[in-house]
């Protein structure tokens, strides 16, 4: 049960506080921002979903190169179109909040980086990741040689069992020794 009625009641608020890492203020703010995005005719429908295109108009997600992946990962819709309900939205904010644990963050980061959804980060995933980070256009991409050298380096650093892909455990191991991850993997409304 989600809520898009104009007010969140106290019981729901404390339930969300227990199930997410967000504070009361943050949940109320999230509810406000979510309600602003809901189209007028659906404002009273419980558990309505907002399509991905509307979510991506949020300033926090607009200029993020991973915005579509984020929506797809947190979306629980059956047709896998990246639409988010209020519950999904809170899940998103909770994973990206200041007080989420490293395990949660690394788990979701892994899923976001896994472009083909196969459970590991293969060479193809890593290539796509690098292109997202650098810009994606022809003149901002690395040359094929540089890309190969880069991916070889990444695999050398993170692939412990030398199978050519990075699985979740290896990813979490790398992330736990990365000092910048927690401070950069953060979205605050």
């Amino acid at each position: 049960m989600g809520a898009t009625a104009s007010q969140l009641d106290k019981g729901m608020l404390s339930e969300y506080q227990e199930l997410t890492f967000l504070t009361k203020q943050e949940i109320l703010l999230a509810h406000k921002r979510f309600s602003e995005l809901v189209p007028k005719e659906e404002i009273d429908r419980i558990n309505c979903r907002i399509p991905m295109s509307l979510i991506l108009t949020l300033p926090e997600l607009k200029s993020n190169p991973f915005n579509e992946r984020i929506c797809k990962v947190f979306s629980t819709s059956d047709i896998k179109d990246g639409s988010l309900s209020f519950d999904d939205f809170l899940d998103l904010l909770s994973a990206f909040s200041d007080s989420a644990t490293l395990e949660i963050k690394s788990h979701y980061a892994f899923r976001i980086f896994d472009f083909d959804d196969d459970g590991t980060l293969g060479r193809h995933d890593l290539e796509k990741l690098v292109n997202c980070l650098t810009g994606g256009t022809d003149d901002t991409n690395l040359t094929p040689d540089e890309m190969r050298q880069l991916i070889d380096n990444i695999l050398e650093e993170s692939d412990i069992d030398k199978d050519g892909t990075v699985n979740l455990s290896e990813f979490q191991h790398v992330i736990s020794r990365s000092p910048d991850f927690v401070s950069s993997f953060k979205i605050v409304l």
Binding site: K24, S99, L102, G119, Q149, S158, D180, S184, I187
Partner: protein, 748 residues
């Protein structure tokens, strides 16, 4: 990548769904770990501070050791990686289970939850009162976490200075202020009027005072400001006698000085502890630098479109630089002997040149200080402006030296052929050294003036009493001038240089403006500026107790000036500063400043005779003497204990014990590193073994069965929770039977 032809991995082909793999214990344990935790994590993993989540790493790692003695399902629901719907279901399941606990158990649970909620609420409220929260959030959104670290460092300094000021106020100024209102009876350190050392002429201006003389006084700390709470010379109270006890103000002055240095040290070390650990790990063979850049490279806080573009280009630049550096390293290994000799000679010459430049700067600071002091002594008034310039001459020379030398160093470093990362660090070290040592040189030249009584004549009072009747106030005045000048320069440069630069570059398109370019917010130089100011504050607080308050106000205004400059004039630098390493860098430089500040304060307290004409230490030879005198007045027990603490035996044994502890910890770290390496190799071997065995098994199974159709091989991903395994799929099983596949991807 694999070399063995049997197990070569090709990313385009993968192996089929093999039901055997599902039954492997490793996979089962992953599933179990996901559903209900074997890793109990009772506490909330992180606090609400910025680096809170790093703390959760510690807790996660430490709880792995405890996992076998805690029952599952103690993990808080919000730490489970499920969607909201699943979390609700889990919660209902737990509530049903908890109802079996009985009333006592339920009450326990409820109270625990209530207390936790209270704690979170109060932490939240405390956090919302943090200074400049919204401003910093704005900056973070536009410029990322690298520049943010500079501003939170500035905020830290504001709070630190406030605490230092409160210390000085409560223990030194407050007792003096409340003397008229309480029953205290103060004994003053009245100088012996017959002694030639105790003459202190009043410097207050008499007669008609022209307005600009007030300004001069305000800017130089002389005149009407000299005999105020601002400077050391005003504190004439020695002891305050109350009916029940005596408050030894001289001792309090000394102890407060020591304590503010200690408080700063402890606070900085505490703050840098996390950064230091990570930096130590990071510096080992440029550990993991590519993974960090790719996986943790994007700043999710950025909301500005332009900033996002800049971030992308800076990431690209960083990656290209790192790849190039790697290639250079490989080339460097191929360097010939002759090349090496050449490079070392060049480096040696350039380092000599750098030392010569530094020596030249220090000498000019020395000259400027002596000239300025002579002029102040002679009291020849030329002109209002010229007088002010003569007063501020040391500050001006220091600022000019600090402006020119970084440019010089950044040009020199290009010829020394170091790796890019080392270049940045080395230039920074040189600039830090330059900035902080210039203060030391200033103080040294001041002291040489103070203790110089003429050619070959020994000073009667221990210092030149005729020229400097109250030398501590004079030193305090110099520190005060440095602080004021520093603040004026920062404000002036922002308004008079950066603002016009932005206007020129935006509106007048020419070759010149393209060459000059937009102002970059160079974090290292800005940090050096404020560390320089903080070092002056630490040194000057002993002579000028109100200086921390002045510095607090100064940094408060600097925050807004810098924020304005950042938003209006600057663009983010192309060479980004990593947030974590920058934290360590800032606090490291601050510690160097603190260490450098302790030296002058220590020398002046312990070595140089305190002035006999002013201040609370008139009855002692040196300021330090107040402490042994007070200790000798204590009763026998504490006295012997304190004597034992300060004896050589204690100091030597303490030193030996700390050395042993350090060696032990270093040896432990080395041993752990070795173990990790061995375990990694073992893991690799295990993976290969398993692959081989499974392959053999499947071949054996295939040989004893008729050929299966390829339609039985289904892609794995849609049927399994694939995020917790690492098995790939989509490989036609038929190929297994014909010949060993050239690839395999079954692993732990």
């Amino acid at each position: 990548m694999e070399v063995d032809p049997v197990f070569t991995i090709n990313s385009s082909e993968r192996i089929t769904f093999i039901p055997l793999l599902d039954q492997l214990p490793s996979y089962q344990s992953l599933l179990y770990r996901r559903k209900s935790s074997t890793i109990a994590n009772k506490r909330r993993g992180s606090s609400r501070s910025r680096f809170g989540s790093i703390g959760s790493v510690k807790s996660t790692v430490s709880t792995i050791n405890r996992h076998d003695d805690k029952e599952p399902e103690v993990r808080p629901i919000r730490e489970l990686t499920m969607s909201m719907k699943d979390k609700r279901r889990e919660r209902e399941k737990r509530t049903v289970k908890a109802q079996d606990l009985g009333n006592w158990g339920q009450w326990q649970r409820n109270t625990r939850r209530y207390l936790k909620r209270m704690k979170e609420d109060s932490e939240d409220r405390l956090n919302s009162m943090k200074l400049w929260r919204r401003d910093i959030h704005q900056i973070e959104a536009r410029f990322g976490t690298g520049i943010l670290s500079y501003f939170s460092f500035l905020r830290f300094l504001v709070v630190l200075n406030l605490i230092i000021f409160l210390l000085m106020f409560c223990f030194i100024m407050l007792p003096i202020i409340i003397i008229p209102y309480t029953s205290g009876n103060a004994t003053y350190s009245h100088p012996d009027s017959g002694n030639v050392c105790s003459v202190y002429p009043s410097s207050a201006r008499r007669g008609l005072v022209i307005f600009h003389e007030h300004i001069t006084d305000l800017l130089s700390g002389g005149g009407f400001l000299e005999q105020t709470y601002l400077f050391y010379g005003f504190y004439k109270v020695d002891k305050i006698h109350y009916p029940s006890c005596t408050y030894n103000l001289a001792l309090a002055y000394l102890l407060t000085t020591i304590s503010y240095l200690l408080v700063s040290l402890i606070w900085i070390v505490k703050r840098s502890a996390t950064g230091f650990k990570q930096n130590l790990v990071k510096d080992e063979d440029s550990f993991q630098c590519f993974c960090n850049k790719i996986f943790a490279g994007w700043d999710f806080c950025i909301t500005n479109e332009k900033a996002a573009e800049l971030k992308r280009s800076s990431l690209l630049y960083e990656l290209r630089t790192d790849l190039e550096e790697e290639r250079m390293k490989q080339e460097k290994a191929k360097r010939t002997r002759k090349d090496k000799c050449q490079i070392y000679t060049v480096r040696f010459i350039l380092n000599l040149f750098v030392i010569a430049v530094l020596a030249g700067c220090f000498y000019s600071i020395y000259l400027a200080t002596t000239f300025s002091q002579e002029h102040q002594r002679n009291q020849v008034k030329v002109n209002f402006i010229v007088d002010l310039i003569y007063e501020y001459l040391p500050s001006i020379v220091i600022t000019m030296a600090n402006f020119i030398t970084p440019l010089l160093f950044s040009v020199i470093i290009n010829y020394e052929d170091y790796s890019p990362a080392f270049e940045i660090r080395f230039t920074l070290i040189r600039c830090v050294f330059m900035r902080l040592t210039s203060i030391g040189v200033l103080l040294f030249s001041l002291w040489s003036q103070i203790t110089n009584c003429g050619e070959g004549v020994k000073c009667i009072c221990g210092y030149n009493a005729t020229l400097y009747s109250c030398w501590e106030t004079r030193v305090g005045q110099e520190m005060y001038k440095l602080t004021i000048f520093d603040f004026i320069i920062i404000a002036a440069v922002t308004i008079l240089v950066e603002f016009p630069r932005k206007l020129i570059v935006t509106y007048w398109k020419s070759g010149f403006s393209k060459w000059w370019g937009e102002q970059e917010f160079g974090i290292p130089q800005n940090v050096l500026e404020i560390v320089y100011g903080q070092t002056i504050c630490w040194i000057g607080t002993f002579y000028c107790p109100l200086l921390p308050a002045i510095c607090t106000i100064k940094y408060f205004f600097i925050f807004y000036i810098k924020k304005l400059s950042l938003i209006k004039n600057c663009r983010p630098s192309t060479r980004p500063f990593r947030a974590s390493s920058s934290n360590f860098f800032f606090l490291g430089v601050l510690l160097i400043g603190l260490a450098l500040a302790c030296v002058p304060v220590g020398v002046s307290v312990a070595q140089i005779n305190c002035s006999q004409a002013c201040g609370p230490f008139v009855n002692y030879t040196t300021s330090w003497e107040a402490l042994p005198t007070a200790v000798s007045e204590l009763s026998l027990g504490p006295k012997n204990f304190l004597h034992a603490l300060s004896s050589e035996a204690f100091a030597v044994s303490f030193f030996v014990v700390s050395c042993l502890a350090m060696f032990y910890v270093i040896a432990l770290a080395g041993a752990h590193k070795k173990v990790i390496k061995q375990l990694k190799e073992q893991l690799d071997m295990e993976g290969q073994d398993k692959r081989y065995l499974i392959l053999m098994l499947c071949q054996a199974q295939g040989l004893s069965r008729p050929q299966p159709s390829s339609s039985s091989s289904k892609p794995r991903s849609c049927s399994s929770p694939s995020y917790h395994t690492s098995f790939n799929s989509d490989f036609p099983q038929g190929l297994l039977l014909v010949h060993p596949p050239p690839n395999s991807s079954t692993h732990v």
